[in-house]
Symmetry: C2
């Protein structure tokens, strides 16, 4: 047997997981400030739930891992965190709206494995269920800006509205049946370029219509200017509704102090369930071009899961944990998390009391449990980048002191344990 991971999965350790834990901690802390509560749903779901008409659609089902339990039930692994949320809402009629929940964890897709694409990868979502006002959408975008600020990431958020897109497309006489095709094709502008999108559109709806749509959505001016100009060109009622939603959103974003949101009326997003606001965040600089967060409003999906079929308005945001970790990992040095190593000289029991005191004060403390000599232990500290070593022999113990060595400059001083804790803590802070 060869020891290896299942294809498209990986172990996370060392610097990567230190950065990942930090990213998750910061995002979750901001979710909580915005009043989102934690929900955790299982990895395993029933296949009929995830394959329902209102769920992720046929493309994603092809990539869904299926399994059976001993009772021969058809089960599968969740491919996102949104469909389980819809199931949860459907099962709990008693929930008070608006319901603001966050969830994070692995999701699974049995797709082709290539660079940066995994079969088991992490999502981190926040959704507001039961609120239709643009204040909800604005909260999500404000939250995204807070997250990027907390991560010290320079990002910009492109914003659009599906109603406006529908209106623009309809304005050029595109048949209702082709609207979704046009939207999903527009979503590819960034990936395959404007020319290729023109070609794809022209094949289906003709060159004139395609040129009109492409000209209108390629507008690069500010919010008000763009919206005014589009408003003058289109008469479609849904389109005007989209324009008004974007204007309201813009006013609320100003109140929130969101300065990083730009209007991009070519933005479409690749999922068919969006019904209003859509957005995607990107890094302003750097090698990584894929989106680092994305989301939007989906007012019809959750209702599909209810027996009543009533409309349940909802909007959500999903942060790309893997791409955020990739970004932040690049600019960080190799990190180790240990504050101090306690090295007994002679009997290993000599170090235990000091180690316990360090730990009691919250210092991340290693203690030699290998019975190695001081020299070996000090070079172990060096190899792991541990800055402080504490040496304790019979002599030190009887006098109630320890030797604190700072491996950064090789200095050594005799101190009481309390003093040593102070010294280490103040050094860590700097």
């Amino acid at each position: 047997m060869e020891l290896m991971n299942s294809p498209g999965t990986r172990d996370e350790s060392g610097k990567r997981i230190i950065v990942k834990d930090d990213v998750l901690r910061r995002i979750i802390s901001i979710f909580r400030r915005y009043g989102f509560a934690h929900l955790d749903t299982p990895v395993i779901e029933r296949f009929d739930v995830l394959s329902a008409k209102y769920a992720g659609g046929s493309e994603i089902l092809k990539e869904t891992f299926k399994l059976r339990d001993q009772g021969k039930r058809e089960l599968c692994l969740r491919y996102d965190l949104t469909v389980p949320l819809a199931r949860f809402i459907g099962m709990h009629k008693e929930i008070k709206m608006p319901f603001k929940r966050y969830q994070f964890g692995p999701v699974f897709r049995d797709g082709p494995v290539k660079l940066g694409r995994y079969r088991e990868f992490w999502q981190c979502d926040a959704d507001i269920v039961g609120a239709g006002s643009m204040a909800a959408d604005a909260e999500l975008l404000s939250m995204a800006q807070d997250v990027f600020k907390s991560l010290n990431i320079d990002a910009s958020i492109r914003v659009n509205n599906r109603k406006l897109l529908n209106g623009i497309i309809r304005n050029y006489g595109v048949k209702e049946d082709d609207i979704e095709f046009v939207i999903l094709t527009l979503d590819k502008i960034k990936k395959i370029g404007e020319e290729s999108v023109m070609e794809l559109l022209s094949e289906r709806i003709g060159r004139d219509k395609s040129e009109g749509i492409m000209r209108l959505v390629s507008d690069g001016s500010g919010w008000e200017e763009t919206l005014n100009r589009v408003e003058n060109e289109i008469g479609d009622k849904e389109g005007i509704e989209g324009i008004n939603e974007l204007r309201t959103l813009r006013r609320l974003l100003d109140e929130f102090g969101v300065t990083t949101a730009v209007l991009d009326i070519s933005l479409a997003r690749g999922l068919s369930y969006y019904t209003g606001t859509v957005f995607e965040a990107f890094l302003k600089r750097g090698r990584i071009k894929s989106s680092i967060a994305a989301g939007g409003r989906y007012d019809r999906m959750i209702g599909g899961y209810l027996s009543s079929k009533e409309e349940i308005k909802a909007a959500g945001i999903s942060f790309g944990i893997d791409v955020l970790v990739d970004t932040l990992q690049e600019r960080e040095e190799e990190r180790d998390d240990i504050d101090v190593m306690v090295i007994p000289i002679g009997d290993s029991a000599l170090g235990i009391k000091a180690a316990s005191e360090f730990r009691g004060k919250g210092l991340k403390t290693l203690m030699d449990i290998m019975g190695r000599g001081p020299g070996k232990n000090l070079s172990y500290c060096n190899s792991r980048g541990i800055r402080f070593a504490v040496l304790i022999g019979e002599k030190e113990k009887s006098r109630g002191v320890i030797k604190l060595r700072d491996l950064k400059d090789g200095s050594e001083q005799e101190l009481g344990v309390e003093e040593a804790i102070k010294t280490i803590k103040s050094a860590i802070k700097n």
Copy 2:
């Protein structure tokens, strides 16, 4: 389609997940103080890895969820976090020993579903790989005591040693092939009682041997007394080694200040891979009788995964997250996590600036996004147990103040936002 969870899985929300997050946060914080680093392995593993000779054994394989990817590879869902650790060690020859890692997350077993038994449940493990000294075992037990203290749980830890058990059993002339059977049967004393265990043992090894073993392991006195007495009765070399390990462990536990560990030489643990120290922690009081943490030393398992087959010494502890959450949930009141709700009177934009300031200062803040009137919002606060409401109309905004209402006593005062933050923060602390 009926909306439901896959059998043996559940959603976690509300008070339960607040308690669970708190339990995990406290345990992980203590792991880190003891110098353990985070490792996260995938949920999906290759079937040949989890079914290897040195892994969990045939019983657990019967309960392993199997699946295939599109490449028809045989995969499965992990049934514990220890075998993935062994795989990781085997794949990373460069790892410096000792390797101290913690991991937490869901594991999967396709067994019978009954009260308190789930098919998807959480484990939280810390393991020390590459260290054979009793200092490692003592660290794990000290860590367990710290965790229980941090959780304000009154627990006692039963400790034993497999070498000692082997020695005792061999002392009564039991054949080598029957030793494992006797150990796994002794493990059932707590579950089925001494008499039933006697019967099971007598059937296989005869009444005399069974009585001798049961008499010896039923000793209830202190560490030294018990060990001295057993030492006088048995001559088996491995047994004496076990006694010496327990004596060393006891001395180290004293240095660590571990006062909650009791020797119980009937303790066996149900897994066959243990080679030395074994332990199990229980609540001293209360309804819950199952163990809340358990572990021990397994010096031969990881080596089985290496091509070199060299012995890799290891010891670990696993905390029962679900049972800990059950315990703590019982004694907590219903909790909501929101510190304050901002209620605009009139235009919803009125509340945004105040909400942003509250959030900026770390307060968990809801803002009305439903455009409901103040009365409805206040009764929403009441129904969720949110103590503070902030009301802002045009009048308040123009004067730069807010109305802070304390729903606990109905009092209301006009304050600046900074003052309101101070008032809320000091109320939360108490």
